[in-house]
Symmetry: C2
Subunit: 455 residues, 2 copies
């Protein structure tokens, strides 16, 4: 970020042109940008600037304006759109493919979204509505219903003509073949059409369609299919195997990024839809419940310490090293947890190799507990001139790091078995475990061996 | 994971057939699987099983065997390959595209990798070697050097013929157009070729190639281009703008997943290349340095507590609530850190909106500190019958959560400015900050107001 990126230069120019009111120049500059870049520029503008720039752009180049809104992502995009009237939103949304329009409508304030849908219905845009009927995060919701399909009774020559006449299809990777009642029966490619003579029946060169998603398939599952089989698109069918849409690889990339963000966020207790631009009070409202739960578990750990107040009052040096034991357990647990949660998300960890993973983590817990326990004991001995304090610290660290890595493996696996997202709840449990075991073992050993400790 | 997945059923059959020595049936079953599924099955086998299954498969279907190795990912793939002789590895690697072969060779033990390259050189497989000359994580390293290009002087009809004659091109999304000296000059698509008459000169229908990567472009930058512009492939050129390769969207998906894993891992102090299958002692060796650094910072925090031993000896209840303050600061800081680090990675946070993000996090720190501080004060008052202890707890929590969110914003931004990966080092600094400030503020306030506290 040391040298200014091209996009930052454009951003500065946008701000400057807006300030001096050079609308024509501003429009000219905006129209030279890709919607994805404009989306990023919009994200860096102040709210008032963003609305002003959007107003200028939407009037002169509604398609580019709406593509930009769509690239911003559904939540910030809807926030920007919501500043316009329902009637205008309904009109402008027609510039977008229906899956993108549906995603935006979904995030509009409830009443506005109902009004917009009502207006769009009058304009007969039924596609958007029907997309919104599918569950969130399903294939049906993210698919593009404009899918190009060929009838199985066509010849190759007729297929090419059909393709030449279809102007609106944005990206044709695979050519899907359907029967007379629109059931998906096969797939072929443009390139294969070119390799045979025009009279060849399509049926002869198509491959049976083996991979497809159903409208209710989870989007994460679709993403996994596309990624592992290196596909460019997946056809989407309904319960009767009728072809109703297509999910392309660019949508899948968005899903993969969103799911990765979600996992990362959940481990830290941040709501999946919080972004840099989320307003402070909304973000606070979303973060407080997690912090509240953590406060509860912190008090559980504190109540363990309270059991040993008498011991601490006799050897106050214990209060100094007590957080070291708990903290190191927490660090070791987070390492394990991260590896396990990511392994589950990437499909690399299953019941088949869970036992092996547990053994590995047990060994790591033991190994790191011994290594760091000895190091910590040395420091305690040297600073407090009390070898016994060092020994107790080492024993407690071995216990706690062992518990940390074992719990770090078993808790997410257990949550997964209970069909609870392991990324979501694991770290709360784990922190409580490592705090409780850390305090209990260190102060417990100290209580047992108190007569050998220097007061 | 409650109902057995198809892949787990296949895994069980593979294990069973291997155990009873039914090689023909086993081979039959293996050959019906996609390489991506086989890779996952291989990952769940014991080491000895995996080597046995690989031996069977590589003998009868070397291409499928090697595609499976490649799908396993370079590190585990190379580990499996390393059990064979250099001569066999060199021979089998020719089943793979040269980018995939290069990735595997890179992870072989050094001596073996040199031998394999020596043997491949004799077979004139210079492509693999030249790929390995590009820096790690650059476009040159991950590109496929077999790129299909058309000369700008061809007509559309001649182009289609050229395409029909090229058998080896795996996926043709875009047709790149080059001049007589192989400089990249334009791009077109198969579909566009079909929309015009065969006599049309290619030059007339091509679009100037605006987006390309240089061999030394960072792979993350390439991934960002592909994702934001919704591309299926990016042409790669050398310093003289000569077309030397292509990076397809399936490679980009791998990069995106790896980078997300890396960010997630770094926040928890796990090395980017650790996987579920990494052997315990190797994993321990990789995790210890991070834990060691954390032990150091834990002692820094402990030394702060040591300053207040006298205060604690007078009011031992302080030792009970002290970890609550530090821990809650740590939780709040991790939330902020995660949002900031991910925002930087996704390009949503830049210098342009950094000030806004800081203001947001400051408000969140203040808001959550006040809310939770009051709640914690209530609990402390109720359990210890000491309102002053509650007040001190609340004040310390406000201080610490404010510091947590501000440091959680500034530390990663600062590291980014110093060109250090913010995901890597931030959480160590932040934990130290929140521990030190947590202990110092709570025990500090307690020392100031000690005369009002119940001993």
């Amino acid at each position: 970020m040391a040298a200014p990126r091209r996009i930052d230069v454009v951003l500065d120019s946008v701000k400057r042109l807006l300030r001096i009111g050079a609308t024509a120049n501003l429009l000219n500059l905006l129209q030279k940008q890709h919607p994805a870049d404009l989306a990023q520029i919009f994200g860096s503008l102040l709210d008032t600037e963003r609305q002003a720039v959007f107003s200028i752009l939407v009037e002169r180049n509604p398609r580019l304006a709406m593509e930009t809104v769509s690239e911003m992502g559904p939540e910030p995009g809807a926030l920007l759109l919501a500043t316009r009237s329902a009637e205008e939103i309904a009109r402008q949304l027609q510039e977008l493919p229906s899956d993108d329009a549906a995603a935006l409508i979904d995030y509009l304030p409830e009443e506005l979204s109902r009004e917009v849908l009502e207006m769009m219905r009058r304009r007969e845009s039924g596609q958007v509505e029907s997309l919104l009927e599918y569950g969130e995060q399903t294939a049906g919701r993210i698919m593009n219903p404009s899918v190009f399909a060929l009838n199985e009774d066509l010849t190759v020559g007729e297929s090419i003509t059909a393709l030449q006449n279809s102007r609106d299809v944005e990206m044709v990777f695979y050519l899907y073949v359907v029967d007379a009642r629109n059931h998906l029966v096969g797939v072929t490619s443009l390139r294969r059409l070119l390799l045979v003579s025009p009279e060849t029946p399509l049926k002869r060169i198509m491959t049976p369609a083996l991979i497809s998603a159903r409208v209710d398939t989870d989007q994460e599952e679709v993403a996994r299919q596309v990624a592992s089989y290196n596909l460019l698109a997946v056809p989407v069918v309904d319960e009767e195997n009728k072809l109703v849409g297509v999910i392309t690889v660019d949508d899948v990339i968005d899903v993969i990024k969103d799911e990765a963000t979600e996992d990362l966020y959940r481990l830290a207790g941040v709501s999946g839809d919080e972004r840099i631009g989320t307003p402070p009070f909304e973000a606070l409202r979303k973060r407080l419940p997690w912090l509240g739960v953590n406060l509860g578990t912190a008090f559980v750990a504190a109540s363990v310490v309270a059991l040993f107040e008498d011991t601490i009052s006799r050897v106050t040096a214990l209060a100094v090293f007590m957080p070291v034991v708990a903290g190191m357990g927490g660090n070791a647990a987070m390492q394990t947890l991260t590896v396990i949660v990511r392994g589950l998300a990437l499909g690399e960890l299953s019941w088949g190799n869970a036992r092996k993973a547990l053994l590995k983590e047990t060994l790591i817990g033991l190994g790191s507990g011994l290594t760091l326990g000895v190091a910590a004991a040395g420091v305690a001995w040297a600073t407090k001139q009390d070898p016994m304090l060092g020994l107790i610290l080492a024993m407690a660290m071995v216990c706690n790091m062992l518990v940390a890595t074992v719990a770090g493996t078993l808790v997410p696996l257990g949550l997964k078995a209970l069909k609870i997202d392991p990324a979501l709840a694991s770290s709360v449990f784990i922190t409580m475990f490592t705090d409780v075991v850390g305090f209990a073992s260190f102060l417990g050993f100290a209580t047992i061996f108190i007569r050998y400790l220097t007061p």
